[in-house]
């Protein structure tokens, strides 16, 4: 059983990032898209923590950053949800493809 190193972490976070991106690109449901964004943010969190642990263990910036990211993510989600609800009110659906009136 080997100790996971920086590169494992980075790989993991990258994977997480791209999973999130993939979800964001493919999912039709707005809420799911929001969730995939959370994935992206979490991958970033992982990055920060990893860097902090393996490279700059004498600093705390990464950790703080992570905390703030979580907080912001929450705020973002709150507003996003509010907007989605409003969208549902007007479009009677939370499918992203029903909201493509504005184009060209």
């Amino acid at each position: 059983m080997i100790e996971p190193g920086l590169y494992h972490m980075l790989f993991l976070s990258a994977a997480l990032f791209f999973i999130g991106v993939y979800g964001f690109f493919t999912r039709r449901n707005l809420v799911t898209m929001l969730m995939s964004i959370e994935l992206i943010l979490n991958s970033v969190n992982l990055n920060f923590i990893a860097f902090n642990k393996y490279l700059w263990y004498d600093k705390l910036d990464g950790l703080f950053f992570t905390i703030f990211i979580i907080a912001i993510a929450a705020a973002e989600a709150a507003v996003a949800i509010a907007i989605i609800i409003n969208l549902y009110r007007s479009h009677k659906s939370i499918d992203v493809e029903n909201a493509e009136e504005l184009k060209y």
Partner: protein, 644 residues
């Protein structure tokens, strides 16, 4: 020393007339304008005569040579050091002679028009234009600077344009004036380029300096001008030839003569003044002005002048035999006579006895002015009476127009070269000169003189004898004194002018040239002339079918001559078909479709592009994100791997 202000007055009085009558004529001088114009003209004529007298008799010659004087010179437009257009006055035998001729004929025409143009609604305009023309012509003859002569050259052109188009509601007149202007303009381009060449090499525009520089074999200018050559011909020759082309255009030399017959659309007095006596000889005058350069430095150019003159003389004479419009006949005869003057210059040499041709040419110019003006004015009287130019409407008019008849006859005799009338003397000298220098030209000249006699008397008999006379309604008189006085005066001139010892005053090197009279030599031409006269009498004195027979017998020649050898048609083909269709139309099309098309195409293609790429803005937030990520990665790859 002749007085500059006087000479200025000679020129400026007609201009004053033009300005005054042109601007205020219609308002204030509707009827008096004729008198005003004539008076001004009279004054300047007197002044001209006075000047001539002063120059020829009072002014002392320096060892027998008339000095060319420049009493006035003002720098008008400085190009570069040395090269400048100066407005100046040059006084030498030919310019003085021309002053006299122009003012005198112009005065005659002014007087004549008082009767001829009476009651015309644009009477003042007419006199204004006459004034403008006289001014320009006088300015031309006294020009001391080759560019100045070009300037007045253009001005006479435009005033002739205005006068030909005087009856502006007649489409034929409009066409004629356009044609006259454009053809001469075309020739003037040659003149202009000639000027440019000459001025470039002689580094001056002033006549005296230019002549002096280009005739002295050791001057640097001369050397450079001869050294530089194009197509094996020296730049100097090119320059002179081009200048001559300008002269040929104005003087209706073949093949640039086509405008002259049509120019007869103008009022007849105008034809008398411009298209017989004065403007059309401007070409001759120009060559005479530059004669030393021609004769000394570019004999080829001069011989070209000679041949062009001879050919024109002959062709014109042949055509004249077949025309039925009396003014056109006169026009062609004018062309033929100018041909005489030209080749007289052409066969002449510089200085002394060899300069006979020069003297003869100027002499003929002088006499021709008299009798040709007389002929035209006479014809005018006839037309005024008949209201037609066609010979077939005329005949037996001698009863109704006695004075006209006599004067016309005198003129005919003069031009036919019957002694002792003016034409005889001048023509003799020309033939003599030709005989001495160039036999080919001499024979052409001889034939032409015969033809001249023939067609002139064809005209004469056609008008005054031939078929029986029938009275014409309205006015019985010949148009009153106003029209008769000039006829008589000119008739006197036409009969007496020949006795002037012309060589004493005008000669190529301005020395005194004795022109003696060889009886033996002049038998041939006179005989030919008389023969022509008798043939004409035999054919046209009584109404008969001989002319038609003759015409039928030499059918081809007659037809082609009648159609003026189809030269007009050729020109029309060139302009209409080639220039308009092959250059003008394509140019316009090219501009509209290609150049402009390109400009519009750029605009439209931009629009099209923007239409085609609108798909990126699909409205799908997810595809936006995809573009986002893709371009991020693209940029990263670009800058990490490619563009370091």
């Amino acid at each position: 020393m002749p007085n500059a202000t006087l000479i200025l007055l000679i020129i400026l009085l007609p201009l004053a007339g033009f300005v005054m009558l042109g601007i205020y004529g219609r308002k204030y001088f509707q009827n008096t304008s004729g008198i005003i114009g004539t008076t001004l003209m009279l004054i300047s004529t007197v002044l001209a005569l006075y000047t001539a007298y002063g120059y020829f008799f009072e002014y002392v010659k320096v060892d027998g040579v008339y000095q060319p004087l420049v009493p006035l010179k003002y720098t008008w437009l400085q190009f570069s050091d040395g090269v400048s257009i100066d407005m100046g006055i040059i006084i030498d035998p030919i310019s003085v002679m021309m002053l006299v001729v122009v003012t005198f004929i112009s005065l005659m025409v002014h007087i004549y028009s008082l009767g001829y143009m009476k009651g015309d609604e644009r009477f003042p305009t007419y006199y204004a234009f006459l004034g403008l023309f006289t001014f320009s012509m006088l300015g031309l003859v006294i020009s001391s600077n080759i560019f100045q002569i070009y300037i007045f050259w253009e001005l006479v052109g435009v005033s002739s344009f205005l006068l030909i188009g005087y009856y502006y509601d007649k489409p034929s007149a409009v066409a004629a004036c356009k044609k006259a202007f454009i053809v001469t303009r075309f020739a003037d381009v040659g003149f202009l380029i000639g000027i440019l060449i000459l001025s470039f090499y002689s580094r001056t525009l002033d006549f005296n300096t230019l002549i002096e520089r280009l005739t002295s074999a050791e001057s640097t200018e001369f050397k450079s001008a001869v050294a530089a050559s194009f197509m094996g011909i020296s730049a100097l020759t090119w320059g002179l030839v081009l200048v001559f082309i300008g002269g040929a255009g104005k003087s209706a030399m073949f093949p640039l003569h086509i405008w002259l017959p049509d120019a007869m659309e103008g009022p007849t007095p105008v034809s008398a003044l411009i298209h017989a006596a004065t403007m059309v000889v401007a070409g001759v005058f120009l060559v005479a002005r530059l004669f030393p350069v021609f004769a000394i430095s570019a004999p080829n150019a001069l011989s070209l002048v000679g041949y062009v003159g001879a050919i024109s003389a002959l062709i014109a004479a042949i055509i004249a035999c077949t025309q039925t419009d009396i003014k056109r006949v006169l026009a062609y005869s004018t062309m033929s006579q100018i041909g005489y003057m030209m080749f007289a210059l052409g066969v002449s040499k510089y200085g002394g006895e060899d300069g006979l041709g020069y003297t003869a040419s100027m002499f003929h110019l002088f006499t021709h002015a008299m009798f040709k003006a007389l002929l035209f004015l006479g014809a005018g009287a006839v037309i005024h009476y008949i209201h037609s130019n066609e010979m077939k409407d005329m005949g037996g008019l001698r009863k109704y127009l006695p004075i006209t008849h006599i004067t016309f006859l005198i003129a005919c005799l003069a031009i036919a070269g019957v002694p002792p009338f003016a034409g005889f003397f001048s023509k003799e000298e020309i033939l003599l000169a030709a005989y001495q220098n160039n036999t080919a030209v001499y024979w052409i000249a001889l034939i032409t003189s015969g033809l001249t006699a023939f067609y002139m008397f064809r005209l004469y008999f056609g008008i005054f004898w031939n078929k029986e006379a029938h009275a014409h309604g309205e006015h019985k008189n010949e148009g009153g004194f106003a029209m008769m006085i000039p006829l008589v005066l000119l008739a006197v001139g036409a009969s007496a002018a020949g006795f002037i010892p012309f060589g004493h005053f005008v000669s190529s090197d301005r020395t005194r040239l004795e022109t003696e009279f060889h009886l033996m030599f002049s038998i041939a031409p006179v005989a030919l002339g008389l023969a022509g006269i008798f043939i004409a009498m035999w054919m046209y004195k009584k109404q008969n079918d001989r002319p038609d027979k003759l015409a039928a017998s030499l059918n081809g020649l007659y037809k082609s001559a009648y159609h003026k050898f189809y030269i007009d048609e050729i020109y029309i083909f060139i302009t209409r078909k080639i220039i308009f269709n092959l250059i003008g139309k394509p140019a316009a099309w090219f501009d509209k479709n290609v150049v402009d098309g390109l400009m519009n195409a750029t605009g439209n293609s931009t629009k099209d592009i923007s239409e085609t790429i609108k798909g990126f803005q699909s409205g799908k937030v997810q595809s936006y994100a995809i573009y986002f990520l893709v371009s991020i990665i693209g940029l990263a790859l670009l800058f990490i791997y490619i563009w370091k």
